[in-house]
Subunit: 131 residues, 2 copies
DNA sequence: ATCCTTGCAAATCATTTGCATGATT
DNA sequence: AATCATGCAAATGATTTGCAAGGAT
């Protein structure tokens, strides 16, 4: 996919991509740490650049969770809606189909085309809400 | 409300609160600019501290929109769901009741208690999607 | 008079950028 | 060999913090 665009295949790019797929959800910093386990010398700015690149190509996507830290995840895996717990910080996922109705209504009423893959819901998970 | 907590009522705090209510949705920086129109000397760090304080007290809330910038808004006004357009950046709002079904299902299926006031949907607005 | 708040400046954290070196095609 | 990509360091932008001076109660 890189070569199709005249771009080069480098070890760093492979590592960043693998890290994102391994970690599931990760901030640029977390990706950097993961990559560093294998290749300690990889610079954080390379991670940023690579994440941006991989997102352009369509191999990863990102969402904004809690305090604004972007978290990246694989784009080729099934899309999902994030459930972020304000109590313990845990991130759960649900099927995007859970939003089908809302999505349809937004489109009909407002013409708003919802990007289902980037939805994050905040709240309290079972254990934190249960009290 | 401040006095109930043994806190003091200051001009800065009033100004920040008014700014948030006036602006509707605003980043800390925008609040700072608004406040500066009246009192130029107010420091940005005071704005941050005050926003945090007002949020503690329950007078304002914040959500994370697009690139992670927190936007604050009045907590006493009716809650709403944000529709953020990736094309033009416009922010629209819809009734939280639009999420009633989803909210109920999340609670039943997962025990997840959705914080409806903090939901932001990303996508394309009518004009940007229409093409 | 007390002690909470502010302003200021410096510290911190996240992210971006310029540029020379090094790697991939 | 020709470019593209990386590492490094410095720049930038957002947010936080320590501390002394000022203000509300």
């Amino acid at each position: 996919m890189l070569r199709e665009r005249g771009l080069r295949l480098t070890a760093q790019r492979q590592l960043v991509l693998e890290a994102v797929y391994d970690l599931g959800h990760a901030t640029p910093d977390q990706v950097h740490c993961k990559v560093a386990e294998t290749a300690a010398g990889v610079n954080i700015s390379t991670v940023y650049r690579t994440l941006e690149l991989l997102e352009d190509i369509g191999l990863v996507t990102h969402t904004h969770l809690s305090h604004g830290a972007p978290t990246y995840h694989a784009a080729l895996e099934e899309q999902h809606v994030h459930l972020v717990c304000r109590g313990c910080g845990r991130i759960d996922e649900v099927q995007p189909s859970a939003l089908d109705e809302v999505s349809a209504r937004l489109k009909d009423d407002r013409g708003f085309q919802l990007d289902v893959g980037h939805v994050s819901f905040f709240g309290k998970c079972k254990s934190c809400a249960g009290g």
